[in-house]
Symmetry: C2
Subunit: 338 residues, 2 copies
DNA sequence: ACTGGCACTTGACCGGCGAGAGTGCCAAAG
DNA sequence: CTTTGGCACTCTCGCCGGTCAAGTGCCAGT
């Protein structure tokens, strides 16, 4: 028995099932694919594939549908990367180039990703803790107030206003500004926090209250977890395309979207490169019939956050995977540019 | 024929239908409500109500269900305001008090509103153009760069960095700061823009390029339409509760959420006070079986934006209306406080 | 104006039945 | 050993008809 042909059969079944959403039998399979063998042979192959766990039958005397393991094999070894069309590339580019700030980039990418894939798209906002310090500014306002501005490598601007116990003199502020800048420039935010903590000791004891107040505000800003948890979701209307199995396919996804923590877990484990989680691989029972495709994106070579799509396991993997990684690439480029 | 009793019948039907989601007949109506009359009498009333357009029958020999007009009558004249329970009030309060900034307030209110109403909740971010200027700061950074910070009455902080053609001297910056502050403080953003435009003329011709550059950046910031269009949506998982009529009840709502413009229109027409749009009153055919309840909210007495819920026409109007206005009140208070 | 009674309508539910699609297996042919 | 054609078998799906319960409309009587 030829192993090659058996894998061809598996591929054909996945492709057909994704296209028709219906269990595929030996006869109808041969109508769409020229495999050069008879239905009986295909049946034997199917039986073998089912034995090995790649296929399953909804019921006796129905066609076969792929199992999670079957999709996995398809993704790993059988699918050929589907390049995006030039039109699609252009769509991504024009969509993203109009963005005015980081938030806008994220919102636009969610939209374009949802449109390209016809699925639910998820984009995590660039992580603060994974960014580096691009610029820090310390500015005395009127009275005893000081304005702190942090600009990160991802282009995010955070500002805080600190109410000090006493009015600092010009010299101290200038001194602070240069030493803070020196200590943190180019550092990742967590490291920058450590450097800042060390910095306090180097100041005159009389200035400590003011310095401490400013530094702690900065470290709080650096480790603001809220912004690490933010995500944008789009394309929920595409859930309508998932078909009629509301309770198994649509409701769990909506619930996952509400529970942002779950989504973050699904996306967050993506280290680098494209990650595909199929059905049970997501680790969530409720998501048994959905698949998550995600990848990290970042400015330059620094991974800032992740983005991806959530869809039914019966999805067009090659196209979706291509779209996800293309959008990630463009988003990274856009963030690096501005 | 007693008009009063006929309206009692209508109210009873609306309440029963909302509770059971099934057409209500004369007999089962009397099992739940003591109207002191016989089923036959109720039937006559029902026939009259149907004649007048308040009720309809899915098919002959089924019970009646309210029409949009029936719900309208119920909302306008038949429903009694359902006060929130103390527990619910406390829930809103504790949920909102933890918020750290405006975005957080919006996201938390969307969540609490969705949970209270078991529906899809929508909160528009506080409008920039309807806010007033609370504080403006002009700060020289290193080189020819200037940092502008605007804090609005709604607590939003916007900052811009301007690259000037030449390095401004300290005096000019100080002058600018005080005159800009003087001209715009307490003004609404559109008016502040006008004042700023006038301001340019009052500066020495040599300083004009710098002043113009800063002022135009500010006016752009003031009229940033993007932030006026932003909305937060939550509780989409509650769509699952709408029942099984996916195409008529769930899909259109998801699509409307994607098309934020549609949502903004639905919310945005709310001037002040609670607005209820039932089915066809929404002006969107696709939303024929959904109702929108919205109200404006604001810090102090200034309407900043709107919030509300989207749900099936067969919803618990009194409870939802109470929740929407309560949340709006608390959100307004929270924004005014910080 | 209300009520009881009665005939009528209609969707929901159930069991049976035939058609269609698909399978598994076996014996024969390469 | 692999492939193939044939054949019996198994399910699901859609359809049909009958029964049931809920509900209506109407009419005559109070």
């Amino acid at each position: 028995m030829s192993d090659d042909r058996r894998l061809d059969v598996l591929r054909a079944i996945v492709e057909d099932y994704v296209a028709t959403q219906e269990p595929v039998g030996s006869r109808s399979l041969l109508e769409r694919h020229q495999l050069g063998v008879s239905p009986a042979t295909v049946r034997n192959d199917m039986a073998a594939l089912e034995e090995e766990g790649y296929l399953t039958q909804p019921h006796t005397s129905a066609g076969r549908i792929p199992t999670d393991k079957g999709y996995r094999m398809f993704v790993d070894r059988l699918s050929t990367v589907k390049a995006l069309s030039p039109a699609e590339r252009r769509a991504i580019e024009t969509f993203l180039t109009g963005a005015v700030d980081v938030d806008d980039v994220v919102q636009r990418s969610v939209k374009v990703l949802a449109q390209l894939t016809n699925q639910v798209a998820i984009v995590q906002y660039p992580s603060l803790t994974r960014s580096t310090v691009r610029h820090i500014e310390v500015v005395a306002l009127e009275g005893a107030r000081v304005l702190l501005v942090v600009i990160t490598s991802s282009g995010r601007v955070e500002q805080r206003i600190v109410e000090l116990v006493s009015t600092p003199d010009e010299e101290l502020i200038a001194n602070l500004r240069s030493r803070i800048t020196h200590a943190t420039m180019g550092e990742r935010l967590p490291e920058a926090s450590l450097r800042l903590a060390d910095l306090i000791q180097t100041f005159d004891i009389a200035d400590r209250p003011i310095v401490t107040s400013i530094v702690t505000t900065l470290t709080h800003t650096f480790s603001n977890e809220r912004s690490d948890e933010r995500i944008a979701v789009g394309g929920t209307a595409n859930l309508a395309r998932f078909g009629s199995d509301f309770d198994t396919a649509i409701k769990p996804v909506l619930e996952a979207i509400e529970e942002q923590v779950v989504l973050l877990k699904l996306l967050g484990e993506a280290t680098s490169g494209l990650t595909v989680r199929i059905g049970s691989e997501t680790g969530h029972e409720r998501l048994a019939s959905t698949a998550v495709i995600s990848t990290a994106y970042g400015a330059d070579d620094l991974a800032l956050a992740t983005l991806g799509t959530v869809g039914p396991t019966r999805m067009d993997y090659p196209a979706t995977m291509a779209a996800v990684s293309a959008v990630a690439r463009y988003v990274g480029r856009t963030l690096a540019d501005n």
